[in-house]
């Protein structure tokens, strides 16, 4: 396990999380 790997791991979580907020917001906005 390297330092770069740890950073990549956190970056993947952050990017996925940001995309998820947009997706979840759109789903709920469309349904409600």
């Amino acid at each position: 396990v390297t330092r770069a790997w740890t950073f990549a791991f956190l970056a993947a979580s952050a990017v996925g999380g940001a995309a998820g907020i947009v997706i979840g917001w759109a789903i709920a906005d469309g349904a409600l």
Partner: protein, 174 residues
């Protein structure tokens, strides 16, 4: 695909699932609160505040999805030796988001009128719980930064057996 690229894709997808689920639950909760804070459906009695099918499916679907994706994210973190900040951060964010709904609508209720203490007090409690989760998440993040992004040292390490060869003094030999 190797283990690490696969883990990165999985982590990004599961983080997206967690964030989407929190966003869905947050918005569905606000919708129910604008309706008065409760709703029901079915049963023999006449219901004054009927749940819409969207509210039910978003709230229950969101909660189940949150549990599934959080478990997946946690499992992938373990599998790929990632930094273990996720679960504390997820719980902290969830309580902060839902607590904000209670606080905002407790201070300024959608139906008008004065402060709704029954919402404001849970909101403050939710934020206290959010702090309770954020602190260990923050501590782990700071620790991780101090290590310069190096992975966490293992909790358990292989036992070290030290062998010492004793040399007998030849003169003491009987």
């Amino acid at each position: 695909m190797g283990r690490r690229p696969a883990a990165l894709v999985g982590v990004a997808l599961s983080a997206a699932g967690v964030a989407a689920a929190i966003a869905v639950v947050y918005l569905a909760m606000r919708d129910v609160m604008r309706q008065g804070g409760f709703c029901a459906s079915g049963g023999p009695y006449e219901i004054s505040s009927e749940c819409t099918s969207a509210q039910v499916s978003l709230l229950f679907g969101g909660i189940v999805a949150l549990l599934v994706f959080a478990a997946l994210h946690s499992a992938l973190t373990e599998w790929a030796d990632g930094p273990k900040v996720g679960l504390f951060a997820i719980c902290g964010l969830l309580f902060a988001a839902l607590g904000w709904n209670f606080i905002e609508y407790g201070v300024d209720p959608p139906q008008g009128g004065g402060t709704v203490w029954g919402w404001l007090i849970p909101g403050v409690l939710f934020w206290l719980m959010a702090v309770g989760f954020a602190l260990p998440a923050l501590a782990r993040a700071v620790e991780w930064l101090r290590r310069g992004g190096e992975p966490e040292p293992p909790v358990f390490s292989r036992a070290t057996v030290r062998a010492v060869a004793l040399q007998q003094d030849p003169e003491e030999t009987p």
